[in-house]
């Protein structure tokens, strides 16, 4: 990669950072410092705006660069990921979006505590939300470090470390100064940039192949060296039965985890009504679906145009497939068009990471301040001071994420994202669905279902080959590997549901019928919604 790429890419990066900082300043000028404003942006976004922001929050660099790279290297098996990421939205639309908007205020815990004894449930739900967010955040930080260093040519350890620190500092500035309103506008800007970049590349690919997708697929299969096997499952996950079971586990985590991600749940509070929440999910399903369909085309055309050897030569995991494709589509390495397109794609990837980390930081600082701090402190915190706590919490989370991002820089990004989804599906989804739909659910059931999903998920990861016992583990020297799968979902998700049921049937507490009636009536009609 020549100096021209880097200069132009750096210019575009700086442009994006300048625009987002301007948004943050402009938004924080008229802020009033209320919790409504900080956590939910005043609840006045339109469904269209929120739909773009949801798409911006959800589509991370793991989708834009990681999945296209997987498709370029392994063909159809990369597509399996995309389907899981997308189908998950039906669960969000059917069971979660409207009801959560009607019952809650700022966080997941708000929905659950309406029926329960408040303190233990809030602490449990807050803990699991923060855990999920930090895992997701570390994945994005690790990705940011390696990608930006790679795209800018500087692969030295120092360049990666400074990128992680820089991303962390920027996200803390966005969140602590701008709150939800600045974060939302950053998501919208990012979503527009990402979608236009993807559409432009897809159009160029279709022009190159004269709109003949069949020929695109055949060329990809031919160049991959696997022939027709490239267009069918099995190249990556077709090994022994452990690998296959691992993929089924990941698939379950992807489809059930989205509905438990705290930064996705908090997006529904930024619109005025449940109907607006439904319409924003519809917008985001359209945008995300269109985006993922285009990434499939881009992945296969990277295999057809750039070729798997060149992709693998640049980055073993395939993360640079789309930038390399852009370089070729623009006219090659030495042309102006190639330079410009490459720099644009690099800048879009950077914008993607920045926007996603800002969204997660905001959601986790809300959990810290609104759930954990407010419950662990004896006396009641005033709303104004709660926002101050949230701002401070975002700084703390930024520091933790930077530290973990530097420590975990050799872990696989896709694995970390899969783990965050698995924890969300095991700890957050059961308690959310039980408290919305189960009349007899009790406080003990709620607490047990959160910890009963969270603890097994984390313990199984510690005992998995990711941490010890293999050449690619975090601690290759020792061996305490007792669980064969990388993703714990297939075991921990049922455990979360089971623990919630067990806790409920064993508790002496009589479920409060009136509270259940209130939750049910409010969730379906919107009466009393804030």
């Amino acid at each position: 990669m020549t100096g021209h790429h880097q200069t132009l890419a750096l210019l575009l990066f700086s442009g994006f950072v300048a625009v987002t900082l301007a948004i943050t300043t402009w938004v924080s000028r008229n802020r009033r410092g209320s919790a409504e404003e900080f956590y939910a942006g005043g609840r006045l976004f339109s469904p269209l705006e929120n739909g773009f922001a949801i798409a911006g929050d959800y589509v991370s660099a793991a989708s834009f660069l990681g999945v296209t790279g997987l498709i370029a290297l392994y063909g159809y098996d990369g597509m399996l990921y995309v389907v899981g990421f997308f189908v998950a939205w039906l669960l969000v639309l059917f069971l979660v979006a409207e009801l959560v908007r009607n019952c809650g205020r700022f966080t997941l815990a708000d929905v659950v505590v309406a029926r329960m004894s408040e303190r233990p449930v809030r602490i449990a739900a807050g803990t699991s939300s923060v855990t999920v967010s930090v895992l997701y955040l570390v994945a994005q930080m690790v990705g940011a470090g390696s990608l930006v260093a790679l795209l800018l040519g500087g692969t030295s350890a120092a360049a990666r470390a400074w990128t992680v620190v820089g991303v962390g500092a920027l996200m803390v500035i966005y969140v602590s100064l701008g709150g939800m309103r600045a974060t939302t506008w950053i998501q919208i800007v990012k979503a527009v940039l990402l979608l236009s970049g993807t559409v432009a590349l897809t159009v160029l690919v279709l022009l190159r192949f004269h709109g003949d997708l069949d020929r695109l697929l055949l060329t990809a299969a031919e160049r991959s060296g696997h022939g027709d096997g490239f267009l069918a499952p099995g190249l990556k996950y077709g090994g022994d039965w452990t690998a296959r079971l691992d993929f089924i586990s990941l698939g379950l985590a992807l489809v059930l985890g989205t509905a438990g991600l705290p930064h996705i749940l908090s997006r529904f509070y930024t619109v005025p009504t449940a109907r607006a929440a439904r319409r924003s999910v519809l917008w985001s399903i359209g945008l995300i679906g269109g985006f993922y369909l285009m990434t499939i085309v881009l992945g296969f055309s990277a295999a057809a145009i750039v070729g798997p050897e060149a992709v693998r030569g640049s980055n073993v995991a395939g993360n640079t497939a789309v930038p390399l494709l852009a370089l070729d589509l623009g006219g090659g390495a030495d042309s102006t068009g190639g330079t410009v397109l490459f720099a644009v794609v690099a800048a879009v990837a950077f914008a993607t990471i920045l926007a996603v980390v800002a969204g997660i930081t905001l959601a986790s600082s809300a959990s810290v301040a609104h759930d954990l701090y407010a419950s662990l402190r004896r006396s009641h915190a005033k709303p104004r001071s709660e926002v101050t706590v949230a701002r401070v919490a975002s700084v703390g989370i930024g520091v933790v994420a930077i530290a973990l991002g530097l420590l975990a820089r050799d872990l696989n990004v896709a694995f970390l994202v899969g783990l965050a989804f698995a924890v969300a599906a095991s700890a957050n989804l059961p308690v959310l669905l039980y408290s919305l739909f189960w009349r007899g659910f009790t406080t003990r059931g709620a607490v047990w279902s959160v910890y009963g999903g969270l603890v097994p998920a984390l313990v199984l990861v510690v005992l998995s080959p990711v941490v010890s016992g293999g050449p690619e583990s975090l601690f290759p020297g020792v061996d305490f590997q007792y669980f064969p799968l990388q993703n714990p979902g297939i075991v921990s998700i049922p455990l979360g549901f089971l623990a919630g049921w067990l806790g409920t049937v064993t508790s002496a507490e009589v479920p409060d019928e009136a509270k259940h009636a209130e939750t049910e009536v409010r969730s379906l009609t919107g009466a009393g919604a804030v």
Binding site: S34, A35, E36, E37, A40, G42, L44, Y76, L80, V83, F86, V87, W89, L90, L93, E98, D110, V113, A114, E118, R215, L217, L218, D228, L231, A232, P233, G234, Y237, G238, R244, F247, I248, G251, L252, V255, P272, T273, L282, I285, G286, G289, H370, A374, P383, R384, D512, E513, A517, E518, E520, V521, R522, L524, T525, G526, A527, G528, A529, V530
Partner: protein
């Protein structure tokens, strides 16, 4: 008079200038966990009463009659797809036309069913649920307000 339009009420409470210090009419207390405090006997009875009303039962069963089969349908279809792709790649590799094989069709089929089900859900909610839910919301808020001895 702003209670005449429940949507307006929801919007108005979002301005957030006072941040709940002037508590919204039917929302919570100033500390953001008001849903719990709302369990004063009168308000609780109202929710029970509304829950037992025929109108609410109708809205709830319309919602469940669509959502339960819908969730079962798409989860079965997705899990079936993932399990087939990982355990029986041979079936998925069977060619259909040109470069397109069963796996490609199934993958694109997942996208298609997601779009169609999302559209169907939105249509069902708009035509079969929204009006009744809005009326119930309006009635419930009226009842809660009068149970508290008038409004602010």
């Amino acid at each position: 008079m702003r209670y005449d339009d429940p949507w307006y009420d929801a919007l108005a409470s979002g301005w957030g200038e006072t941040d709940g210090v002037g508590a919204p009419a039917t929302g919570g207390g100033p500390d953001g966990r008001g849903a719990k405090e709302e369990g004063v006997p009168a308000a609780g009875d109202i929710y029970l009463e509304v829950q037992r009303s025929a109108a609410f039962q109708e809205v709830r069963s319309r919602y469940r009659r669509f959502v339960v089969p819908g969730v079962l349908l798409f989860l079965t279809w997705y899990v079936g797809y993932v399990v087939t792709a990982t355990t029986a790649p041979g079936v998925m590799a069977r060619p259909v036309a040109g470069a397109v094989n069963v796996a490609m069709l199934a993958g694109l089929g997942q996208f298609l069913t997601t779009f169609v089900l999302a559209w169907a859900y939105a249509r069902h909610a708009r035509l079969r649920r929204d009006r009744a839910a809005l009326e119930l919301r309006w009635d419930t808020q009226e009842l809660t307000r009068s149970a508290r001895g008038g409004t602010s």
